[in-house]
Structure formats: structure tokens, C-alpha cells
Subunit: 409 residues, 2 copies
């Protein structure tokens, strides 16, 4: 544990901060009155047979940042400000759909693999479930996450600004195994992935990525994929922009060049200051954000707090996270939750004594390649202000003297 | 990947097995007709705002093995035969309650710590959430899991026989931190943990365990605990019998000896052949079970399958899992899903060619202490047949020539 002050300082900090919750013996034992829920039998087992959160957690939900004009072509964010550890419950995994969530019968679903292959094949879900499988814990991030290149709103929470990232244990067949099965011809260099949703979402993936760590995923956090995550089958490309991990996957076509679909020409490209566009910018660069305290939180007293946040990199693992509470003048290294996994969320934590003054809370991540998360100024200098994608700059939350935390505009 | 036969053998095995799913080019592309769900817009984002599984997965649920006579004092098992990887979705985590699930208002809930301490204290949930936190992925197993010392029913599934184990990422305050805060007196050697359910479930925990890796857990798989798992607060003791990890935790009392509560005298003891009872048998020993194929599964064709299962040990990590398909005459080492974590489920996998004959499928685990999971004969020789707890023997599933898998009675 990084946090190990002598007993008195922790006690003192909390005692001062919490304004009297440290009781006396009498006060403590006075709290042992039998509460109403100990006086009656509770609910039976398996009611419900598939469990749900407590009714007191009813406010913890996915939500779009603003009511979307077309709710089937929209996104909803994960409530990072309320979450702990690195796993995102499937019910709170962020969403980004282009024509809504289809209601697919898995027995009717097929994956067709064709194009420049020796043996075009159609796979049932039962076929895919028989193949050798892998499970790995990885983040998934929409490349449009944190599209706040300029401005914003002081009320935006981390769910609004960074909610298009989540993390799950994904299980499925290595794509390489299925490609071995169909036999990719030597001239096969790119693969088109197509979804069975009404948008027929299509993206091109280089063969090197497909043969590396790509997964045909059918399960998430132990159970079959949720409908919003591509049930019954999705492509999963660790560390790359979420849009590439095509949901409701029905087709893989092997070709000799990229297919130039709408989603890789008009969308998911980055317009640069010189008028050219960066295309096929797959990898999600190192990034981090403080989730507690963050915008919308209210500190009630001075004293000891634990600053908590998340860091990740599509290029490997996180090697270091630093936290500043003075707007970047000084930085302290946070503790990283173990094990630190590749292309996975990493939880960081740092104890902090709030003295009651204003504070600007920021974090910056370094990944295993040595890459340091840039400042917003550095990022804009390199990429301009025309792009909506791949914003990974250092982010801050403003704490005022009353303990209110807001988004920095 | 352990599984890397030459292309022809994998193809041949699957082609022979799957009875014609390997199409021709025409057949494969014939499957590209546009399905009904691609012809219409799907559901909007955040509908529901807290997601649920597909309606096609409706049968995957927790359930009691038999309808319990007292449904508030009963258990329900995790459907291991349908799960993947190591994480158990919170909605499918096994249950064991002694007076049902209380409906606790977290703002009213208090944890009182008293007895042989310098400063008896009552903590609110907000207090506990401010303390330095940890998150770790650990299994939890009821010591009554697999209480099939003799007999059984051929229809029992792995949910029936082994379903009282699940695995989550648990987050909370190290118990050691809170004990440091109250100041345990030198004569304090045991701690009584009491739940706020109507059973007021109480167990005694040695101070050495409390100061080691025990957690006051408030979150599970990223979100706050589910009601069935002790919302808003439970004790979590990694690797030890689940009953010790008292749910709905309202009180910790430090004493100089064990408190000899009902749950550690009449229950949760192991009656030995000589008439004495083993008491305070906390640790869950190394154990493993094959989950796919397992009882209730039906293999449709000969050919290649992946045998999958779970292994775990309360004494550390799993170092090896071996699988036998011939009733224990020969054993092959399975691949372990990485990373292998301490006191955590470990998924194992082994490719296997089914030739169409009967087979007895078994697994045995070795843990990081060198301990090998015993045979049922070895276990009964050591412990007799009077106990309901701590059964960890090698388990088998019988596959017949028609591909049906049943529980071995």
C-alpha cells in the first residue's frame, strides 16, 4: 500500500475532515440498534434469477451526453465517476450505434468468410463455439471519446467527456484460427468486416492486425455478448478505435487493398490543418483521466481523499501515471492497480490532503513504449482543431474552495 | 496458442464433425442474403439505460438445485456450463443466504468497530469510500459447494454440483486500514463479524487473517455490490470459505478468542470418522472442474472439441491442470488462461478429438504450494463421509457413444 502515514495523521485527517463521525465508545455502540431490515426476512434466493443492482443505485446508468436527434445513430457513456476497479459491468458498457441495436436470433446468424480465400465458408455460432478459444481483459474506446478540442460546459461530467471507454474480459476465437481455416490467398492484404445491423457497418482491417491479436468475440465478462455489444458475434481488435471492432459481425471479405467504406472515408478520419486527412488511424494512444473526484462531485470537508482514475494505451501497458493538484506545476506518481495488463484499463490511486483551497486536478500517463500523454496545447499544435477523433490530451477538473468540482472549459 | 495442428487436420476434424457446414464458395455467399434485422432500424441507445442480456439467453440463470423448503435460507448456483473466461457477471454470482436478502438504505447503514480497540468507531459508507482502496480479482466459494460425498443424480449439471463458486473484481478498503484507525489492543486476537440480515450471521476471524489481505468490500465488477452480495458492505476474505465473508456487514467486535457462534459450532464444521469435528477450517483447497463439455451437454458429431474448465486454490495460484478423457489412465496438461492470479479462478483449455466412443472426462489441479487435488477415494479415506463441507476431489463427466454427457453417480 502506497498509503501508509502514521496512524495519528490518518486519524487526524479523517477526524478533522469528517466533522465528528469518529464517535466515542458509547456513540459507536449506540449505532448498534437493530435496523428495520434485521427485523424481517429478506428476499428469497434467485429473486430475480438474473440479479440487478440495488434500487438505491438506480441513478447509475448509461446516458447520451445530450438527447440524440437520431437515437439509433448515437452514443451513450459509461458512468466512470461512479465505478471502481477496471471491469465495466456489461450493463454499463458504453454504446455507439449507427442504426440501433438489432435483435438477432443466434441460431439464424451466420459468419461468412469469403473473397481472396481458398475455401469460402459460412460458420454457425455452434461452429465458432467449438473452436479453440481465448479470453483477455481489454479496454474498448470510441475514437470520438473526449471530443472536446475546444470549449465545453462546466457541468460536463467524466461520463460526458470520457464515457466512451469501457473494459471487459472478452472471449472468442482468435481471428487467425478462422483465417487459417479458410486459407487466405497470398494476395490477401486487407479484410472487410461487415455488421448485420441496418447500417451494415463496414470497416477495412489490415491482414497483419487480423493475424495478430484480433478475436471473433462471442462473450464478455463471462456471459454471451450483450445485444448492444454485438450479440451474437463481434470483431474485437484490442487497442484500436472501437468502430473497427464491428458488431453483429456477419461477413469478412478478404481483399488486396482497403475497401474505402463510408466509415473510413467521410467518417473516422482526422482532418489536419493543411487540409489533408489522416486515414486508418487505428491505434488509441495513451490517455488517462481522474474519475474521483471529478466534475459533479462535492467534497464536504477538508482532509484526506484518495484521487482515483483510469489510464490506458492501445500500444501496450501503462508504465506510469502522475497526478498534479496544482495545475501542472508539480506531479506525484500514483500507485497502479496490479496486475497491469496490455491494452487494458489500469486503475491509479493517490492519497491527497485537501487543505480547503481551490485545486486543479490532472493526470498524465506514460505507456510501455515511453510515450507520454500530451498536453492539450501540444496536441492542438500537432493536429489542429478540425478533428473530432483521437483526442488524448491531459485533462483537468477544477475544485473550488467550497469543495465543488467542475469541468474546465 | 497450444492448439496449432496443421491446417488440414483442423479443417478435416471440423469438416467431418460438423456434417457439411463447410460450404462451397457459392454456398457461403448464398448465406449473405440480407436478414430481417438488417432491414429495419434497431433499438435506440440506452434502451434500457442499464443493459440486460439478449432475450435468446433467457435460460442462463441462477437456480437452486432443488426448490428450497425455506427460500430465504437457501442457495442458488452459477450456471458454469454456460460461462466463459474467469469473470462471473454479478447477476449470475451464486447466492447463499440464511434469512434472505435485506433491502438496506446505504445512507442509514453503519459499520461499528468495537471491543478490544482504543477508539470504537461507527463508519458511514461515505467514510469508507474515502479511505485508500484496493481492487483484486478473487474467487468466492461456499464450503458446501460440491456436497456429493456419495451418490448423486445423473442429470445434475455442473451448476448443481459446483455452482457455488463465482469470481469477481472486488473493491474496498483493506480491513487492516480500518483496524489501524480504531487501534486494536494487544490482547485483541479474534474479530467477530456480524451481518445486518435477519439471521445476524456471525463468524469469528483470526486477527492475522484480518491484517493480511481481508477487504471491506463495497464494489464488485466495477459497480457497487449487488444486494445478494451484501450491499452496501461485506467482508471479503480471499481464498477462505464464503460463509466467513459476512454480507451486509454492520459490526466488527475485537476479542481475545473465537466467539463460538452458531455458524462455527453447529454448522461449518467437519465431522470426522472418530467423532471429533474439525473447526475453523477456513481455506478452500485446490480444486478444478470441467465445464464444457459437462453434464447436460450433447455432442452432435465426432471431431475436434475444446475441453474447458476452471481451477482455483485458496492457498495461492494454480500451477498446473491435467485432463484425462479415459477415466484417469492418462493425463494431458491443459493450457492456463493468462494472467494466472492468486486465489482466483483460472480457466484451462485443451483441444480434444472425440472418436465417437464413450469417455470419462476428468481434471485435476496442482497449486503453487505443490498440493495436488485428491481423488474422491483419497479424500474419503482422510475425512470420512460425515461432512458436508470442503469437498475438493477430482470430478468426472461421462460421455456416451451418442454424445450425451451425464453426471457420474
Amino acid at each position: 500500500m502506497v498509503f501508509s502515514p502514521d496512524r495519528r495523521s490518518l486519524l487526524g485527517g479523517l477526524a478533522a475532515a469528517a466533522g465528528g463521525w469518529i464517535g466515542t465508545a458509547g456513540a459507536a455502540e449506540g449505532r448498534l440498534q437493530v435496523p428495520v431490515w434485521t427485523r424481517q426476512q429478506g428476499s428469497p434466493v434467485a429473486s430475480p434469477a438474473y440479479g440487478v443492482p440495488s434500487r438505491f443505485e438506480d441513478g447509475i446508468k448509461r446516458r447520451p451526453r445530450t438527447p440524440p436527434p437520431i437515437p439509433t445513430a448515437a452514443s451513450s457513456g459509461t458512468p466512470l465517476q461512479h465505478l471502481h476497479g477496471i471491469i465495466t459491468p456489461a450493463g454499463l458498457h458504453y454504446e455507439r450505434h449507427h442504426a440501433g441495436v438489432p435483435d438477432i436470433d443466434p441460431d439464424q446468424h451466420r459468419l461468412v468468410v469469403h473473397g481472396l480465400v481458398e475455401r469460402p465458408l459460412a460458420f454457425t455460432m455452434d461452429d465458432l463455439l467449438r473452436f479453440p478459444s481465448v479470453s483477455r481483459i481489454h479496454f474498448m474506446e470510441c475514437s470520438g471519446n473526449t471530443s472536446t478540442w475546444g470549449g465545453g460546459n462546466p457541468k460536463w461530467t467524466v461520463q460526458d467527456t470520457h464515457g466512451l471507454i469501457s473494459c471487459s474480459e472478452w472471449t472468442g476465437v482468435p481471428l487467425a484460427t478462422v483465417l487459417q481455416e479458410v486459407g487466405v490467398k497470398p494476395e490477401g492484404r486487407w479484410i472487410l468486416a461487415e455488421g448485420a445491423d441496418a447500417a451494415a457497418m463496414t470497416r477495412s482491417v489490415p491482414i497483419e492486425i487480423a493475424l495478430d491479436d484480433a478475436i471473433l468475440a462471442y462473450a464478455q465478462n463471462g456471459e454471451r455478448l450483450r445485444p448492444e455489444q454485438g450479440y451474437p458475434l463481434r470483431l474485437f481488435l484490442p487497442g484500436l478505435e472501437g468502430n473497427l471492432s464491428v458488431k453483429w459481425l456477419r461477413r469478412l471479405k478478404v481483399g488486396d487493398k482497403p475497401f474505402q467504406s463510408r466509415e473510413e472515408t467521410s467518417k473516422y478520419t482526422d482532418l489536419m490543418p493543411d487540409g489533408t486527412a489522416r486515414q486508418f488511424t487505428f491505434t488509441m494512444e495513451a490517455k488517462s483521466v481522474i474519475t474521483q473526484p471529478s466534475s459533479g462531485h462535492q467534497l464536504r470537508e477538508r482532509g484526506l481523499y484518495e484521487i482515483r482514475g483510469l489510464a490506458w494505451s492501445g500500444r501496450g501497458s501503462i508504465s506510469k501515471v502522475e497526478v498534479s493538484t496544482d495545475g501542472g506545476q508539480t506531479w506525484r506518481e500514483a500507485e497502479l492497480q496490479q496486475p497491469v495488463l496490455s491494452k487494458c484499463l489500469t486503475r491509479f490511486r493517490l492519497p491527497w490532503q485537501w487543505d480547503g483551497g481551490p485545486a486543479l486536478l490532472q493526470s498524465r500517463a506514460t505507456d510501455s513504449t515511453g510515450y507520454l500523454q500530451p498536453t492539450k496545447e501540444q496536441l492542438i499544435r500537432a493536429r489542429g482543431l478540425n478533428s473530432n477523433y483521437h483526442f488524448n490530451a491531459v485533462y483537468g477538473w477544477q475544485l473550488n474552495a467550497e469543495g465543488a468540482v467542475t469541468h474546465v472549459v
